[in-house]
């Protein structure tokens, strides 16, 4: 196992992972090698596809997904079944595309990577089901360019699946045609936004598109298009195989949401990594599974699901990690991979680092994001150097507010403003320390914009 794979390691033993409780990971090997076609088929692989083709109409598949309430695992939390049901289909509607969003680039997130590298057939099976449900005639896996191991796994799996008749014409005697192309991205975070992903795939600038029309109406090349995250699609085979009720029950005790979630932790903990747990598991359980804080330092704060989610405090550790609960705390579940910060770390620097990332990754389409984010970075840098000025915190408050939802073209800037806004709320003193005491000269000329003439 290479060092680079360190984070993306599943920390649950094979004995712990069972088909009925760990639909995403039970087939994974202890050695971390890719589950090939034979092994996948031997472990009940492609059974869901066969079953669906035999007994279910596309509408049935959509209905089951809807009932199961599989919420988008890329961070949005939108019901996949709902998305599928809103996708235009019909005799007059051209067949469109199924896009798998594998452009995993959220800071602190490495869950899709595990699935892509070690179990690509699960994704392919999920994509076949999604394509069948949505009348998609072609699929694309938009893969983060740096995921070279995943690309290798996917390429091999696609070849295997095609050779075995799981992709191509007339899949498994069903009359259904579908094939998948692997597309590796060129390295822009914004390509993870579904409409920017579509633009990028088409060869256009990776700017998001306005909605409506949603991709389900007019997506890639103007055709109805479904974009789902890797983990979301990987849930589909088990949902189809075992039913919506089973899926709901996986989390019944802990959350309204259904199924399991591939959670993870990184940061100042003893063992970072991934765990498949019922959705709604608490942050405390995760932290314990990670062996607690490293070096005995105290937990200062944590991000629940990536760089674009708001900071939470130690007191929030006992809350269920699901979409609604975390939302009510003013943050977002996001990708469900915790970033843990200890008492020695500077939140100001951490936020500056995040905002620098988000400013750099802005596509440059809308004004608040393109020009507002770099201003926050410069203000944060000034505060870091102790060169902040009075009014800077209020300006940051205003900027964070102006970068919020509906004011920007897409969710990029609102996501970027979440850690900033929450850090200003919870750790304001750290920011205030960056404001330089006003010098004598500055006091004398404290009204910017006016020319002061001294008359002697």
């Amino acid at each position: 196992m290479s060092v680079a794979r360190y984070h993306s390691q599943l920390r649950q033993s094979a004995a712990e992972r069972r088909a009925e409780t760990h639909p995403l990971t039970w087939r994974l090997r202890e050695d971390g090698a890719m589950v090939g076609l034979d092994e996948y088929v031997a472990k009940d692989g492609y059974a869901a596809v066969r079953e669906v083709f035999d007994r279910q109409s596309p509408e049935d598949v959509v209905a089951t997904m809807k009932t199961a309430n599989v919420r988008g695992r890329g961070g949005g939390g939108f019901s996949a079944g709902m998305k599928w049901s809103l996708t235009m289909k019909g005799p007059d509607i051209p067949r469109g595309y199924l896009l798998c969003n594998a452009d995993e680039m959220e800071p602190g997130t490495f869950k899709d990577r595990l699935l892509l590298e070690q179990q690509p057939h699960l994704l392919i099976e999920g994509m076949i089901l999604a394509a069948y449900a949505n009348h998609s005639y072609y699929g694309y896996i938009f893969l983060r360019g740096e995921y070279v191991d995943a690309a290798r796994s996917l390429a091999r799996a696609l070849e295997e699946a095609r050779a075995a008749g799981w992709l191509g014409r007339d899949i498994a005697g069903s009359d259904f045609d579908f094939d998948i192309v692997l597309h590796t991205g060129a390295g822009r975070y914004i390509c993870g936004e579904e409409t920017a992903l579509i633009n990028s795939l088409e060869g256009q600038r990776a700017n998001p598109r306005d909605k409506p029309p949603f991709p389900g109406q007019s997506g890639a090349w103007g055709k109805p298009t479904v974009v789902n995250n890797v983990e979301t699609l990987c849930n589909a085979p088990a949902v189809m195989r075992h039913g919506a009720d089973w899926y709901q029950d996986l989390s019944a005790d802990v959350s309204e949401d259904g199924g399991t979630k591939l959670y993870g932790i990184s940061g100042k903990v003893v063992r970072s990594g991934l765990w498949e747990l019922p959705i709604g598991t608490t942050g405390r359980e995760l932290l314990e599974r990670a062996g607690g804080m490293r070096d005995g330092r105290a937990l200062k704060t944590w991000l629940p699901g990536g760089g674009s989610t708001g900071f939470l405090l130690p007191e929030h550790l006992d809350q269920a990690l699901d979409f609604d609960t975390i939302g009510e705390l003013g943050s977002r579940l996001g990708t469900g991979l915790l970033t843990v910060v200890n008492e020695d770390q500077s939140v100001l620097s951490l936020v500056r680092n995040l905002e620098q990332f988000f400013a750099r990754e802005s596509c440059g389409w809308c004004t608040p994001c393109r020009d507002g984010l770099p201003w926050t970075v410069k203000l944060l840098q000034a505060l870091e150097r102790g060169e902040g000025e009075s009014g800077d915190l209020e300006l940051l408050d205003k900027l964070a507010d102006d970068l919020g939802p509906a004011k920007t073209f897409c969710a990029h800037a609102p996501g970027a403003s979440m850690p900033l806004q929450s850090a200003l709320k919870y750790f304001r003193d750290e920011f205030e320390r960056g404001v330089a005491p006003p010098s004598h000269a500055a006091q004398a000329d404290s009204t910017p914009g006016f020319i002061h003439q001294q008359v002697r």
Partner: protein
């Protein structure tokens, strides 16, 4: 219709628009950047945020971008809401973060949308205290200056350049706050519509380079409503003058013609007005061997009158680049029977055929705006971007209109530009082009055929026959052409509004008759279509309506000494016919009087040369190719800053010359009188009086100001001549004053607008204040009057169909290929156009080039019985076999349709050499 509520007031609006357009149409000010009436909405800049409320009880509301929100019935918004105001102030503050604040040295200053919007949103204090990003600028060629640091990243430039105008070589590069709009490397912007970037760009990134060296703020320019003289389109322009020089040309909004956009020939081709070598005083010599002397007006007129009075027979040669009034005055001077239009016979026959077809093909002539509403287009024998560029741009919009139709089926509003393009992809309304070589519209065509002129005609005749079998069939058509004809016919018949476009560019009457048959067939099959016929020059249409004899007749009269004197009006005959017959005729003439504003080869033959006013110094009426009579008004008085000049409108010269000949006391004359006289003389032109308000019209009791009310320097600009400020020049010919005094507002409807300005709106976006709705019509009606309409009833088909084209051994048929830059007489005398024009080349098929053993850059002599020409070879992969292409604007030899021989030139060196 829909009712919307804005800040508590009810308004009735067209519910199909977005809220921004609806508010602007209502006269409400909402700031914006990325939206444009012709480009639609993309929601990028976030400047037009307003507060929207769900219903009457909603007091919270939420911010929406007005450009991306439909103005649906019952919509409730607030523009004044505090949160919306504050957010809009934030947006401008962000946009100004990297802006250099270099207004004092920026050429956009004073007509800058960014300045206007910054003032409108109240951003007047800079809080950003960190470094700005900077860019390197590019050399984009002779037309466009580039200063990327001023960019506010609204994306309008690329959306216009690429999406609207089909350009490829301007793009958005980079990401985040480091977006760059430019070419992949320095170089001339290829689009023939690049000049519109100067108006589409809301700030000073793209500016008029031709204006840069002698720059004047908008508020210091003197404007008049004018008509572009650089082709027959009749685009409305706003030329601006300072210190007796034309400084720049801006688009003047006309709701049926050019609307927001001009071509680069029109915008940058005016430099001939400022040439130092222009005749500015009457020039006289009694004998051609004498040197010219300059004379005062009265003496010059007396000399001229004496000579003409004593002449046996005086003939007149008019001009399709001169106004109706000037041509009419010439015709009055010499008499109806001895007036030549100054147009070569072939072209005149084509013009006559076009004029007849406009009446007798059963289909109306659409306006430019209407062109965009046709859903299938068949173009025969025209490269529109070269011969009538603005029309080509309209055809591109017609093709792209299918995207909006497709989007409508999915409930995507037409203004949602990105969504419309996404859904529609490259599914266009069908455009078919038959032309000898590639054209700049090929990328939106359903199919195109590279054919010799006779084959273009045959294809057209075949299409007509496919549409209506009563139209004559084409004998011996090859199966591929038959198939093509069937396909075109089916697509034209499937359309709701098919449009046929043809014209005289290839000098082929057969093509015109074929286009006429297609139109007649469509009309007989009750299709609501249109026929648009392209003429070459600004007043070709008008002169054809006035009538007169072809130029060859005039030359023959002189050469055969049936006439011994000639008056030539604003016409360089060398542009029209080979030199030999012209020189034979002029040498034979006892008296040659030339009126022109350019020192042409023809001028050099004058005994009396009278310095004529160019369009910028004159008033007059032109008839555009859509049959619209339009008045152009004098921009400035050339004598104000150069008192020594004696430039006069040609119609004025000719009036006084006639009076002098007849020994009448010279009565003063006004434009209105000449126009009325002209209207009375020709029934076809009887409506031209109504083309514009007369000199007595007033708005609010005031004459109209040519200068903005902030105009400065009036008392100083003549101080080097005289410290006493003279009375401003008086204008008896128009309702305009040469002054800032007079009406310049927007709220009282008026047709003739010298410059667009409204309080708070200094940029070209001010036009939205003059229109009934954004992108609509001027509130007082669009200027001009249409003169042509189809006669009702079925019309007989043309029956003479040419034989199929056959390539010959050792001879090639010449096609003259129009050129946007360098292919037109007067604009070719403007330095920026000369710099932009591609070298004139001889287009040869690759096979022919191989056979002749020449390749690109070699020199060849093309010779016919009218003369010969040496040109550099350019191999053309599209041209049909047996045809050779000669660019327009070289010498007129050989002529279109002639058969010519080709030989490799022994002489070296680039350039064009004419031999006759």
């Amino acid at each position: 219709m829909a009712t919307i509520h804005v800040d508590g007031r009810r308004y009735e609006v067209d519910g199909g628009d977005n809220l921004l357009a609806a508010c602007l149409s209502l006269g409400l000010d909402v700031p914006y950047f990325c939206w444009h009436p012709s480009l639609g909405s993309v929601g990028a800049c976030r400047q037009c945020a307003v507060k929207q409320y769900k219903d009457e009880d909603d007091t919270q509301g939420m911010l929406v971008m007005s450009c991306m929100t439909p103005s649906a019935d019952g919509t409730r918004i607030s523009i004044d809401d505090d949160e919306a105001r504050e957010f809009r102030a934030s947006v401008v503050e962000w946009l100004m973060i990297n802006h250099p604040h270099d207004c004092p040295v920026c050429e956009e200053g004073g007509h800058c949308h960014l300045q206007d919007m910054t003032v409108m949103t109240g951003h007047d204090r800079r809080r950003y205290r960190f470094s700005k990003r900077t860019h390197r600028n590019q050399d984009l060629g002779p037309f466009i200056g580039h200063e990327m640091n001023r960019c506010i990243t609204c994306y309008r430039c690329v959306r216009f350049y690429r999406d609207y105008a089909g350009g490829q070589d301007l793009g958005a590069f980079g990401a985040n706050d480091n977006i760059y709009f430019g070419r992949h490397q320095d170089g001339v912007l290829e689009s023939p519509f690049s000049g519109n970037l100067t108006e589409v760009c809301p700030t000073g990134v793209f500016t008029d380079q031709t204006h840069a060296e002698r720059y004047t703020r908008k508020w210091d320019l003197q404007f008049a409503p004018s008509i572009c003289h650089q082709c027959a389109m009749g685009c409305n322009i706003s030329p601006g003058e300072r210190y007796g020089e034309l400084r720049r040309i801006e688009n003047r909004y006309h709701g049926e013609v050019n609307r927001f956009f001009l071509c680069d020939r029109g915008r940058f081709g005016h430099g001939y007005v400022n040439r130092d070598d222009r005749p500015r005083l009457p020039e006289w010599r009694s004998d051609r061997d004498d040197a010219c002397v300059t004379l005062e007006v009265d003496t010059a007129l007396d000399h001229g009158a004496d000579r003409l009075r004593s002449a046996r027979r005086v003939i007149g040669i008019g001009s399709p680049r001169a106004s109706l009034e000037s041509n009419h005055q010439l015709r009055k001077l010499v008499g109806d029977d001895v007036f030549s239009t100054g147009i070569a016979a072939t072209e005149q026959r084509c013009l006559a055929a076009m004029q007849a077809l406009n009446h007798s093909c059963g289909l109306p002539t659409p306006t430019l705006r209407e062109v965009e509403q046709h859903d299938a287009v068949f173009i025969l024998g025209e490269d529109l971007i070269a011969s009538a560029a603005r029309l080509g741009l309209a055809v591109r919009q017609a093709a792209q209109a299918r995207l909006e139709a497709l989007a409508a089926e999915r409930d995507i509003p037409s203004w949602n530009d990105a969504a419309v393009r996404t859904l529609g992809q490259n599914r266009y309304h069908p455009v078919f082009i038959a032309y000898p070589t590639a054209t700049d519209l090929d990328d939106v065509t359903a199919a195109r055929w590279a054919l010799a002129p006779d084959d273009i005609a045959r294809l057209g005749f075949a299409v007509a026959h496919e549409i209506d079998d009563k139209a004559p069939a084409v004998a011996g058509l090859d199966p591929a052409m038959q198939e093509a004809a069937r396909d075109i016919a089916v697509r034209l018949m499937a359309a709701e509004r098919p449009l046929v476009i043809s014209g005289g560019s290839l000098g082929s009457e057969a093509i015109l008759e074929a286009a006429g048959n297609v139109a007649r067939a469509l009309a007989r099959r009750a299709r609501r279509g249109g026929l648009l016929l392209v003429r070459r020059e600004a007043n070709s249409t008008g002169l054809a309506m006035m009538g007169g004899k072809p130029l060859e007749w005039a030359l023959d009269e002189l050469a055969s000494r049936r006439a011994d004197a000639v008056v030539i009006l604003e016409n360089d005959l060398y542009q029209r016919l080979p030199a030999a017959p012209i020189e034979a005729a002029l040498a034979a003439a006892e008296t040659v009087v030339v009126l022109d504003h350019q020192r042409t080869a023809t001028w050099a033959w004058a005994h009396l040369g009278l310095p004529a006013a160019s369009f910028a110094e004159a008033d007059g009426t032109l008839v555009s190719l859509e049959g619209r009579a339009q008045r152009f008004f004098q921009v400035f008085d050339p004598a104000y800053l150069r008192p020594e000049t004696r430039i006069r409108e040609s119609w004025r010269w000719l009036h006084v010359l006639r009076a002098d000949i007849q020994r009448h006391e010279v009565a003063d004359i006004t434009l209105d009188a000449v126009t009325r006289d002209c209207a009375d003389a020709y029934p076809a032109l009887s409506a031209i009086v109504a083309a514009a308000p007369d000199a007595d019209s007033r708005v609010h009791g005031l004459k109209l100001a040519r200068e903005p009310h902030r105009s400065s320097g009036r008392t100083a600009m003549r101080a080097h001549i005289d410290v006493n400020e003279p009375r401003v020049p008086q204008d008896p010919d128009s309702p305009f004053t040469f002054s800032m005094e007079g009406y310049n507002g927007y709220d009282r409807p008026r047709e003739e607008v010298a410059f667009a300005w409204a309080p708070g709106w200094n940029s070209p976006q001010a036009w939205n204040k003059f229109t009934d709705e954004v992108g609509g019509h001027l509130r007082a009606g669009d200027p001009g009057v249409r003169l042509i309409a189809p006669h009702p009833g079925d019309h007989d088909y043309a029956t003479v169909i040419p034989e199929g084209f056959r390539a010959r051994e050792g001879e090639w048929q010449v096609v003259i290929l129009p050129r946007l830059f360098g292919g037109e007489e007067t604009s070719s005398r403007a330095a920026p156009i000369l710099a932009r024009a591609a070298p004139a080349t001889l287009a040869l098929t690759i096979d022919d080039a191989t056979r002749l053993g020449v390749s690109d850059g070699d020199r060849m002599v093309i010779a016919s019985h009218t003369g010969s020409l040496t040109l550099t070879v350019r191999r053309d992969a599209t041209l049909p076999e047996g045809v050779v292409g000669v660019p327009a604007g070289c010498a007129p030899a050989p002529a279109a349709g002639e058969w010519a021989r080709l030989t490799v030139s022994s002489a070296g060196g680039p350039g064009v050499e004419a031999h006759s």
